[in-house]
Amino acid sequence: MDFGFCLSPSSHVKMDSVDLTTFNRLKETNPDINTCIACGSCTATCTAGHFTEMSFRRILLMLQRGKEDEAKKMIQHCMLCGKCTLVCPRGINIRKILLDITR
């Protein structure tokens, strides 16, 4: 039956129930994953980012906010060119982390 209204799911990120397994696994082999300062250089320089929504900065956040599926979908746009790694001011080995996420 159609009552003419529906319930929208909450848009809140519920931090209490976020599953951090993937992020924590990555952290073990890539401790620099914690040091991102969200400057956006990786996204700005990204070859794929000019044509898709690819953003490594956001991928890191997605993994910490319970959006692992979205992160993995986004990674598919990456061409592994490594430009992001060249520009990161924190020296994060982004290309390697991207590979490790999908592993």
Binding site: H12, V13, M15, D16, R57, L61, M62
Partner: protein, 335 residues
């Protein structure tokens, strides 16, 4: 006879200014309203950025002021000027004649109750950065029982027109990260979050502290202001903020919330300040003559300012100003 210099306030600024003036052959007299010298740094456990014990610094400073005239538990109740000298009446009925006055009365901590939405004084597990320092010093606080999740709220009472403080309090970002590391040292299994708008790591070694916070202590910095705190049935705190980098509101349950309270002008000196003809700036702190070259001078000849009474300052800022005020006073007397 040596010339008297009246220094009101015996915190870092007052003590260091007195030390330098004494070395210059003048006679500084410190009037301190509390029962001890040291001011706020005597309340801190370890100092950023290098976790240096505050006690060491205070002890060194106390050592340096040995032999200098100090009045504890004393305030200036009245002061007037007679050409080039000042006559002050103290609360112990003593009168002091001085050639110059240095205001070094420092700051007060923002009263966290004023930001009611953070629940300080309402919910048990909300505390201030000052209380957390005390916990680090004494190891005692009823609110801290093996917390598993801890949050820090930046800019409490700062950068906020709602409390009429639009300025940045300068040291609380660095203090928050320092305290986040320290609480992680005590409770290594706890998850620690800080909620910031901008991270202002302005000094030498401070950015290194930030990197350490992320890398060695696994503290998570979330960009977004906590807008609301409530308590659930178990007495845990539920906070809401937007993760502005992610672009989504988030909700989280915490065992402990620490409010990084801002520095405000210490108003206990207002009456004396008025008698001396020294006004306040738009942030409510004491007005100095010029931001660049006259930071220790005021609108009145012979009345000087140093330390956190003119703006939020770190300890190195304060010491630098205290040393420069001594030079200013010396030059003023020798003119």
């Amino acid at each position: 006879m040596k010339e008297n210099i009246l220094i009101i306030g015996g915190g870092a600024a007052g003590m260091e200014a007195a030390t330098q003036l004494h070395k210059m052959g003048l006679n500084p007299i410190i009037v301190e309203k509390s029962e001890a010298l040291g001011g706020h740094i005597a309340q801190w456990d370890r100092l950023f950025p290098a976790f240096h014990p505050a006690k060491d610094v205070v002890e060194k400073m106390l050592d340096q002021v040995k032999g200098i005239d100090v009045r504890l538990n004393t305030e200036v109740v009245d002061i007037h000027r007679d050409n080039n000298s000042f006559h002050a009446i103290l609360s112990n009925n003593e009168t002091i004649d001085a050639k110059a006055v240095i205001l070094a009365t420092g700051f007060d901590i923002f009263k966290a109750e004023r930001k009611q939405e953070y629940g300080y004084g309402i919910y048990n597990n909300v505390m201030t950065s000052v209380e957390l320092e005390k916990y680090f010093r004494t190891g005692k606080d009823e609110r801290i029982n093996h917390p598993k999740k801890i949050g820090f709220v930046h800019c409490v009472g700062a950068r906020d027109v709602k409390v009429c403080n639009t300025y940045c309090s300068k040291v609380c970002c660095t203090t928050a990260l320092k305290q986040a590391c320290e609480i992680k040292e005590v409770f290594p299994d706890a998850e620690v979050y800080t909620f910031y708008m901008d991270l202002r790591m302005f000094g030498p070694g401070y950015e290194d502290l930030y990197l350490k916070t992320q890398k060695d202590f696994d503290v998570k910095c979330v960009r977004g202001r906590v807008c609301e705190v409530s308590e659930d049935m178990d007495g845990k705190l539920v906070i809401k903020a937007e993760d502005t980098l992610f672009g989504k509101p988030l909700k989280m349950t915490l065992d402990l919330l620490v409010l990084m309270c801002s520095m405000e002008k210490n108003k206990s000196i207002d009456a004396i300040q008025q008698k001396l003809g020294v006004g306040n700036n738009s942030d409510g702190f004491m007005q100095n003559k010029d931001m660049y070259l006259g930071m220790n001078d005021t609108a009145q000849d012979g009345v000087f300012v140093a330390g956190a009474c003119t703006a939020p300052k770190s300890l190195p800022d304060t010491i630098g100003e205290a040393r420069s005020v001594a030079t200013q006073v010396y030059n003023y007397l020798k003119r």
